[in-house]
Amino acid sequence: MLTPILKVENLSVRFFLEEEKRLLPALCRVSFHINENEVLGIIGESGSGKSVTLLSILGLLQGNPGIIEGKITFNTNGNEINTLQDISEYVTINNCETNDEVIRKNIHSWNKLTTKRYSKILGKVVSMIFQNPRLAFNPYYSIGKQIRESVLLHTKENNKNTAKETAIDWLTRVKMEAPALRYNNNPYGLSGGLCQRAMIAMALASEPQLLIADEPTTGLDATIQDEILSLLEELKKRHKLSMIIVSHDFNVMHRLANRVLVYFNGFIIEEGNTDVILDHKSDTHHPYTSLLLNTEYDDIRKKNDFSENTQDQQFENQNSSLNTINVEPKASFYNQCPYYKDCDRITSDIKDSCATSIPPLVSIHNNHKIRCWKFA
């Protein structure tokens, strides 16, 4: 049994709305783990909690008013660090009915504790590729020097000249043309694709055990997306990277991920190996996953031959997804489920439980888990 690099157990995040004096759930009891040499994909619509997961793993949610519960355990060379340990001591929750401040947070000690814990983790164990690389670099500082700085900070390298050589080496490894010249370029002097390559080089230069990529191909052209994906594939093979990739693109998942999590409204609704999840001909899917797959693969849409009514219904469903932020997470998917009317196991019991309570995450086959009353 491999020990996972990162283990997330029952992570829930709730934000506090100061004006309405109530808590907004953003993540509900999410659990997953990442083994070595494994790429985990997270897929889901915007607002489903993908980015919140990444931010809470990286400890960047610290200053915000809200509650984080659960366990995030990093395993670094045998030492286990739970970054959320004892952190709930600094938060007191009052009763919502009295119109006082609902949450009181000792932000100072909270920040102190998290920065102390994450100082050993950020950059050294985890590093991140950002969605828009040009905005994530320092605009007035050359990219090569920024990479060199990350080499000097996080590896045993102390000499500036040799660190420069390693930085240029990383730029060649991400297939930057004329790396020694590009070393002196400022970020606004690079095209989007080159900038993303530099970002990847910077993330890898600190030699992390785990790489987190937040929609690494979103702002790029189709051809450059393809180049970046093949680069990531190659790096994954050569350096035996463990990665978390967040995206809403099936192509990215298909090419990179070993396992895929499907998110919906802060829940993991389906989990399994990539070939199982992305198998659009299979019937054992959560209805939301099949909806996603239908939008991606045209052939199955034709094959299923949706009538005009169901398409209209789908359109309505998409509109209602805009309002999900104000809806309690319990009933939200029930409203949107396209198979709700034709559900073959729809007895009165299931109909009631579908409307009122959250289904459990049921293991169906090997690694494949689905959260739906149909399979419960």
């Binding site: 983790i121 950020l122 590093s127 950002f130 905005l135 605009p139 500082y141 700085e149 990350s150 900070l153």
Partner: protein
């Protein structure tokens, strides 16, 4: 445009950029000459490298015109050499002004960079104090301070420096807001940059230095203006120690008698120095605009 060949377009572009840099070069030369001569005058007078007789009265040449023998820029109503007094007058503002500027820049940038920790209290304090200072004219505040304490140039410059702190802090915190929008701060925290490197190196040095030097130049101009106007009103440097402000004041008494020079020459000197500081600030601000666009 169609008639224009590529070469011509290229040439016109090149001409454009070169003319801009030519203009900037002229400004640079002007600023170096003016500020360099101020600095040289200061070092000459403080270390007494040259014997500057600013108090010696030449009774044979009272209210002499410029270019008279022995007096390059003429004399004032007591027959004192105006050129020597101009040189001596640099002592009145240079070091006190630098003190005021360094107080405002150092404390302002520290206060402003503390807003990186998302502390609302600091941000509120900055915006409140900028608003509060805008309601009160600086000169009135200075006169109040002089009335309470005493008319010492270092008190005045301390007040100018302290009242400029919120402006600098506001500039730095706005720059931090822009970087936060660009997700740079988040990214560098996520990649494990320690906060002192992030603030000192990345934010203050690489992103704010031009801004801060520009602000320092403006602050220096303001300090000179404040010192000279207070000295003109009789609250700053007192006679017989020369300041450009009190030189203008003593000269104005003889303006209507037909002696223009004893008041206009120091006034002209004030104008030249202020212009140099303002031009530096403007060139730097233009450079920021060009880079950010």
């Amino acid at each position: 445009m169609n008639n224009m060949t590529k070469k011509e377009i290229y040439k016109s572009k090149q001409k454009n950029t070169s003319s801009r840099s030519f203009f900037e070069g002229l400004i640079l030369i002007y600023c170096v000459i003016i500020l360099g001569s101020v600095f040289v005058a200061y070092t000459l007078t403080t270390f007494e490298l040259v014997n500057v007789n600013y108090e010696d009265m030449d009774f044979d040449a009272i209210l002499a015109l410029p270019f008279t023998e022995g007096h390059l820029l003429g004399t004032d109503y007591l027959g004192r050499d105006i050129f020597n007094r101009l040189l001596m007058g640099t002592q009145a503002y240079l070091i006190p002004g630098l003190m005021a500027v360094s107080i405002s820049i150092i404390f302002g940038s520290i206060l402003g960079s503390l807003t990186i920790f998302k502390n609302r209290g600091i941000k509120r304090a900055i915006s409140l104090s900028t608003d509060l200072l805008q309601t009160m004219p600086r000169l009135v505040l200075l006169m109040l301070i002089i009335a309470i304490f005493e008319a010492d140039i270092y008190y005045i410059m301390l007040v100018i420096g302290v009242t400029n702190i919120p402006t600098v802090a506001d500039l730095v915190s706005r720059r931090i807001d822009i970087l936060r929008d660009k997700s740079f701060i988040e990214a560098s925290i996520a990649n494990g940059t320690p906060s002192h490197t992030l603030i000192g190196k990345h934010i203050l040095w690489y992103n704010c230095r031009i801004l801060l030097i520009g602000q320092a130049s403006l602050g220096m101009a303001e300090a000179v203006l404040m010192e000279t106007s207070l000295s003109y009103l009789g609250f700053g440097v007192q006679e017989p120690i020369p300041s450009w402000g009190n030189m203008v004041q003593t000269g104005t008494n003889y303006l209507l008698q037909g002696n223009l020079w004893s008041s206009t020459i120091p006034a002209f000197a004030i104008m030249l120095v202020l212009l140099a500081f303002y031009l530096i600030a403007e060139v730097l601000i233009k450079r920021i605009d060009k880079n950010s666009s």
